[in-house]
């Protein structure tokens, strides 16, 4: 069973060719580190996002591995070069079959 959640991505709609663009991606996820216990002493299993990737016209331009220390609802801000017009695809993969995706279009002139 695959679970998902809302995501929000900020990408400039247009950019000059070969300029540096800033991308912000945030996704909703409560994150459970796997180190916490319930009041009765039972370990709460880890439930985190493991990987975040950004593909620009199907070429991976950014990847981040997350570990149990990652905060909830993680925000990632990164830059890339605006090479050509096309689609940016964002993907988040996590424990228990978690998958979230988002797309954005950019026009490069």
């Amino acid at each position: 069973m695959s679970k998902t959640s809302r995501s929000q991505v900020t990408v400039p709609a247009t950019a000059k060719k070969n300029s540096i663009i800033e991308i912000r991606a945030i996704v909703q996820h409560d994150m459970e580190s796997g180190f916490r216990y319930t009041e009765s002493g039972k370990l709460i299993p880890r439930d985190i996002i493991r990987v975040f990737t950004c593909s620009y016209n199907e070429v991976e331009v950014f990847k981040a591995d997350f570990y149990p220390g990652i905060g909830a609802n993680p925000l990632i801000i990164f830059t890339t070069i605006a090479t050509e017009s096309g689609t940016l695809e964002f993907k988040w993969l996590g424990d228990d079959g978690y998958e979230a995706a988002h797309q954005a279009r950019i026009t490069v002139s």
């Binding site: 809302r6 409560d30 909830a72 609802n73």
Partner: protein, 280 residues
């Protein structure tokens, strides 16, 4: 037969008006001890501190940016969820919020700045009124406090009043409740025997353990608190404070909570609503 006398005198000075609370303790050996407690007289509802300051001003630039920018504010996820729940049918009558209230942008505008208020003889907070509508109008089960659904709807309704000044006024209808709320604010509570006013009125702007003490206005709720790593209500925050002074916490949705919330909103009147806010 020796007589031991112990005299302890406490003098409390409240802001502006001179209200004195004096406690004498006297102990006599071999006989029973006599404890005398003088009563405290409350002044008429006093104004808030001279200039109201939102705890937004105490945040770092990064946190302020997180609150101001919808693309960075995690609370917007709950607002999106709330927008979806607003349309979701529920209960045996199969109706949604929108069935009666239509477009929330119009019908809910200004609502969050007026609550808590007396509705049909009962003091209702925003969460309380949402649940009242769910049970009485939709016939749907009430949403538990701090549940994702209730927080989402609260955030969605609150954001419709973003930027508007808090408009809770003293009226003949809420006067009694407002007075009670003020008492909760000014009375000492808990093992640490502290009142809200002692920190948030008398010592606002000073430090407690390295952190600046805010005036404690509820003008940004519901907030995404970084400490909680999630969205939370004003009642959750008030319970935190009560736990901090080791007091018996008010129950979620209780009349005491509503009275305290009413007083706090009245105290913050005129301040713009920042909901949904981000706080450290």
């Amino acid at each position: 037969m020796t007589v031991m006398k112990l005299l302890i005198k406490h003098v409390l000075q409240f802001h502006k008006s001179s209200v004195h609370v004096v406690i004498y303790l006297r102990r006599i050996t071999l006989c029973c001890s006599i404890l005398l407690a003088a009563t405290a007289s409350m002044a008429a509802p006093q104004g808030a501190i001279n200039s109201k300051q939102s705890s937004y001003e105490l945040m770092t630039a990064e946190n302020k940016a997180m609150q101001d920018d919808p693309s960075l504010n995690p609370a917007m996820f709950w607002v999106a969820e709330g927008e979806s729940l607003w349309q979701t049918k529920s209960g045996p009558k199969n109706i949604a919020c929108t069935s009666c209230h239509g477009d929330a942008k119009k019908s809910m505008r200004g609502i969050a700045t007026q609550l808590p208020k007396m509705i049909n003889g009962k003091l209702q907070t925003l969460e309380g009124q949402i649940n009242q509508c769910r049970s009485a109008q939709q016939g749907a089960p009430v949403l538990p406090y701090e549940s994702k659904e209730l927080l989402a709807l609260t955030a969605y309704v609150a954001i419709q009043s973003k930027g508007m000044p808090i408009a809770v006024k003293e009226t003949p209808a809420n006067q009694g409740q407002l007075k009670k709320g003020q008492q909760w604010f000014q009375e000492r509570m808990g093992q640490l025997n502290l009142s809200c006013a002692q920190c948030h009125e008398d010592r606002a702007g000073l430090k407690l353990g390295g952190s600046l003490i805010p005036q404690g206005h509820p003008n940004a709720y519901p907030i995404y608190r970084l400490e909680w790593q999630t969205l939370g209500s004003v009642q959750r925050r008030l319970r935190n404070c009560m736990s901090g002074v080791r007091a018996q916490q008010f129950e979620y949705g209780s009349p005491e909570m509503a009275q305290l919330e009413l007083f706090l909103m009245w105290r913050a009147r005129g301040m713009p609503l920042e909901a949904p806010g981000v706080r450290p």
